[in-house]
């Protein structure tokens, strides 16, 4: 069996690290990330936050374009202060390397020899041109897992299409499956906020990558993991997509009894379709006479009489603040949630007590509060070991410490624009 199968890197990693080391789930897993903007970096972040040693490779001088995308403090652009970049690159090491130069590619190959995983988001065809195509990598690094993230995958008629989040989100069907009262839909198809589809693709890539890492523990071999962002998004509408694939007749979704409803000070969503939830809701509303009528008998009849029932619910909800509705409904076991802004989520006692937010100090951006992750591992906690790297911050640690280059080599590479 080859060297480092399954990662014997833990020992080495703990030797190298001078900071206090939390026990982490992915300790010792080494990942090289050659990605930009959101999807690929989010994949790297998910792994880094769980303890993988992720080296982010950026173009010298320019860096990941996410550095140029705000939000910036006081709206003053600064490549070390982009909120988006800071969030997406926590816990990573950062090096610079120009893959367009042959010296840069040499250095990258040296890095790959030290790595368990490469995550890359080069356009299809570009990786082959750089000598980083599947065959070349397979030959040189048979144990390496190579995760390639592209908008459409490496084949098919749209392979080389240019896209932004807007295009992929709307191209994936998501904007057509919204749970909404048709009377309230104005303005046509609507993109999901916060570039969520890019994160979705990154999460899908992280999952498949970890799958391959586990596979390697058994087989001792690396492999190619191909992730199409479009397909990652389509997969999240599995139920709807499969339904249409088998029966193209559009269903007229009558809308949910409840659903999105305006309260005194905002909106709440109520999901009370099933009998038990409905009974809870009726009780919370004080068993009004209309709720005893035939139309409210069961889930089917309520759906059929949705337009008659809904105004009663709306009238009741409008009398209260969202939080009042939330408390009293949830105390009666009725699934209700207020629509909250990110500021309200940040102040939410439940999330705060669970430690969902972490303060992280960054040399340029200062101390900021970051969302962490949805999971609490009892033995290997999410960590905020370091903030996002400054551009090229770890060139020395990685090129000299890992690869054994001298500082004078680094100066030469830097002078030539390679790093």
């Amino acid at each position: 069996m080859g060297r480092n199968v399954g990662g014997h890197r833990e020992e080495r990693a703990s030797h190298r690290r001078h900071v206090a080391v939390t026990k982490t789930a992915l300790a010792g897993l080494r990942v090289i990330e050659l990605c930009e903007m959101i999807a690929g970096p989010y994949c790297g972040k998910v792994l880094a936050d769980l303890g993988a040693e992720v080296v982010k490779v950026e173009e010298p001088g320019r860096g990941d374009p996410a550095r140029g995308t705000g939000p910036f403090p006081e709206d003053i652009p600064h490549r070390e202060r982009s909120g988006l970049f800071l969030y997406l690159n926590t816990n990573k090491l950062g090096v610079t390397l120009d893959v367009a130069t042959s010296s840069g590619r040499r250095l990258l190959r040296e890095l790959l020899r030290e790595a368990d995983v490469l995550v890359e988001d080069l356009p299809p065809g570009r990786s082959e041109a750089l000598g980083l195509g599947p065959e070349a990598l397979r030959e040189a690094h048979p144990e390496l897992i190579v995760t390639s993230i592209t908008p459409f995958g490496v084949s098919g008629p749209y392979r080389d299409w240019r896209t932004y989040h807007l295009n992929l989100y709307h191209g994936s069907g998501h904007s057509s499956f919204i749970y909404q009262d048709p009377r309230e839909v104005v303005g046509g198809p609507l993109v999901g906020g916060g570039y969520i589809g890019e994160y979705d693709a990154g999460l899908a890539a992280a999952l498949a990558t970890l799958g391959a890492v586990l596979g390697r523990l058994r087989t001792g071999r690396g492999q190619q993991v191909e992730v199409s962002k479009l397909e990652a998004l389509v997969a999240l509408e599995r139920v709807e997509v499969n339904r249409f694939a088998n029966d193209p007749t559009p269903v007229r979704f009558p809308g949910m009894v409840g659903g999105l409803v305006r309260s005194r000070d905002g909106y709440v969503v109520i999901t009370a379709a099933q009998d038990q939830q409905w009974k809870g809701l009726v009780q919370v509303m004080g068993n009004p006479p209309w709720s005893q009528e035939e139309m409210c008998r069961d889930e089917i009849s309520r759906a059929q009489h949705r337009d008659e029932i809904q105004p009663y619910i709306e009238e009741w909800v409008a009398r209260y603040a969202s939080d009042e509705i939330y408390r009293c409904a949830q105390e009666g076991s009725v699934p209700v949630g207020p629509v909250r802004t990110v500021a309200e989520v940040t102040a939410w006692e439940q999330a705060r007590q669970r430690g969902f937010f972490a303060e992280i100090e960054h040399p340029e951006a200062g101390r900021l509060e970051y969302p962490t992750a949805a999971y609490r591992f009892s033995k290997t906690p999410w960590r905020a070991e370091r903030a996002a790297p400054l551009l090229g911050q770890h060139n020395d640690e990685v090129y000299c410490g890992w690869l054994g280059h001298s500082r004078r080599d680094l100066a030469r590479l830097s002078a030539a624009g390679v790093i």
Binding site: Y164, H170, G171, E231, M256, P335, V339, A374
Partner: protein
């Protein structure tokens, strides 16, 4: 078929509804053996009915929604209200690597199947629990579904048109939670494989949503600004919107002889321009005299300021084309554009068809249906649909007989007594 990367990993699955089953579906696609524990007395409601599927289903084995979310799994039936069934479930945990569940926090503990009980049977078990807002904290007993996760997590508030209502989004929110759960399982299994140590992982569905919009939270953290829905617009790019198109008709797929669908699901096209180069390319396609040199649209900033006029000009052109034609013409010129697809449009889409994302799955009761395959392609240990979704209790004899070594008569007796049901 070649084994998946998770071959040899066995999961005891107490999840139901959408989010949890999506998580274990992903594990099954990656080759894990997933044993779903269910009961005729407390059916996964996706086996019973759905507003999308219409009225009450003929039987629990006829539900296509259940089928979509449970492809590749095994089913064992145990009535967990009965102590003997609980005892069997514990023994099953003893032969599994992972336990997953998404019941209301506290429920499995009351049944005697919580983490401590599982650990007593198998000290190194990995257990992953997901719930609406997490298994700790003052609101831990609160309940929820996809729309409440989107609302509480902040996603609804940043999805909407200006002055319009927030969006409740869709069932995809549940599947995002499921993906997060699957990831947590794999990270915990990796740790276990390396160190021999099991653990409990507690997941908040609402936090799973918030983590996927981290940039929006940073907007608030950095500048104290509260982001809100801005339709399809972008803070710096213009044009950046969806534009109405001619509605086209799609020809019948000759090789399948399927029904001739009316509207082809391509009623608008999304167009986004991020650079001067892309703007020049767009002008070339629109072919409108003087547009490229119009001072209102001369640079990134002026285009953004005049984005409404731009939208008007672009939609004059898109209205003359089907969305597919428009997208293809724009892409040929180097402009980011795609048809806005709905369910029918996706099922017909040439790219997805050529990529083979839909495959035929034969189910003994439902029959032959198209289903989405794995969302990733692994070259050596492929992810794949290895079997259809299970009928209720279909694998009782394998799970109880082969895995636990019970004799057939014993299983039959337990079935008669309503323990295995």
């Amino acid at each position: 078929m070649k084994e998946g990367p998770l071959a040899g990993i066995r999961v005891l699955d107490f999840t139901w509804a959408w989010a949890g089953p999506q998580g274990t579906l992903l594990l099954a696609l990656l080759g894990a053996e997933v044993i779903k524990v269910e009961s005729r007395r407390r059916l996964d409601h996706t086996r019973v009915r759905s507003l999308m599927a219409g009225p009450v289903l003929v039987s629990p084995d006829h539900s296509v929604i259940f089928s979509e979310l449970n492809v590749g799994k095994l089913s064992v039936t145990l009535d967990l209200k009965q102590p003997r069934a609980v005892e069997i479930a514990r023994r099953l945990a003893g032969v599994c690597d992972v336990v997953t569940e998404n019941m209301r926090p506290g429920t499995l503990d009351r049944l005697g199947l919580g983490y401590e009980a599982m650990r007593a049977v198998k000290p190194d078990i990995v257990m992953v629990s997901s719930s609406a807002v997490g298994g700790t904290g003052p609101e831990r007993t609160y309940v929820g579904y996809a729309p409440t996760f989107a609302a509480l997590g902040g996603l609804s508030s940043i999805t909407g048109f200006p002055d319009g209502p927030p969006s409740p989004l869709s069932g995809a929110v549940d599947l995002r939670v499921g993906t997060t759960c699957a990831l947590a399982v794999l990270a915990a299994v990796y740790h276990h494989r390396r160190t021999g140590e099991g653990q409990w992982v507690d997941i908040s569905s609402t936090e799973a949503v918030s983590a996927l919009i981290g940039g929006a939270f940073m907007e608030y953290a950095v500048n104290g600004r509260v982001p809100t829905g801005d339709g399809n617009r972008h803070p710096t790019m213009a044009p950046h919107n969806c534009y109405p198109c001619l509605s086209g008709r799609q020809a019948r797929w000759p090789e399948e002889g399927g029904p001739l669908w009316g509207e082809d699901g391509r009623r608008s096209v999304s167009i986004a321009v991020g650079s001067d180069e892309e703007w020049g390319a767009l002008c070339g396609v629109l072919g409108k005299a003087g547009l490229e040199h119009d001072p209102r649209f001369a640079d990134v900033v002026s285009r953004w300021r005049h984005r409404e006029e731009l939208d008007h000009i672009i939609s004059e052109w898109t209205r003359e084309h089907t969305a597919q034609e428009a997208a293809e013409a724009l892409q040929r010129a180097g402009v980011a554009a795609m048809p806005v697809l709905d369910g029918a449009g996706l099922a017909q889409d040439a790219h997805l068809r050529e990529r083979g994302v839909l495959e035929t799955v034969d189910h003994p009761i439902i029959g032959s249906r198209l289903a989405l395959g794995p969302p990733w392609r692994l070259s050596d240990t492929p992810a794949a649909i290895r079997r259809p979704s299970p009928c209720l209790g279909e694998h009782n004899s394998y799970v109880l007989g082969e895995l636990l070594g019970m004799a057939d008569e014993e299983i039959e007796k337990l079935a008669r007594e309503g323990v295995v049901t």
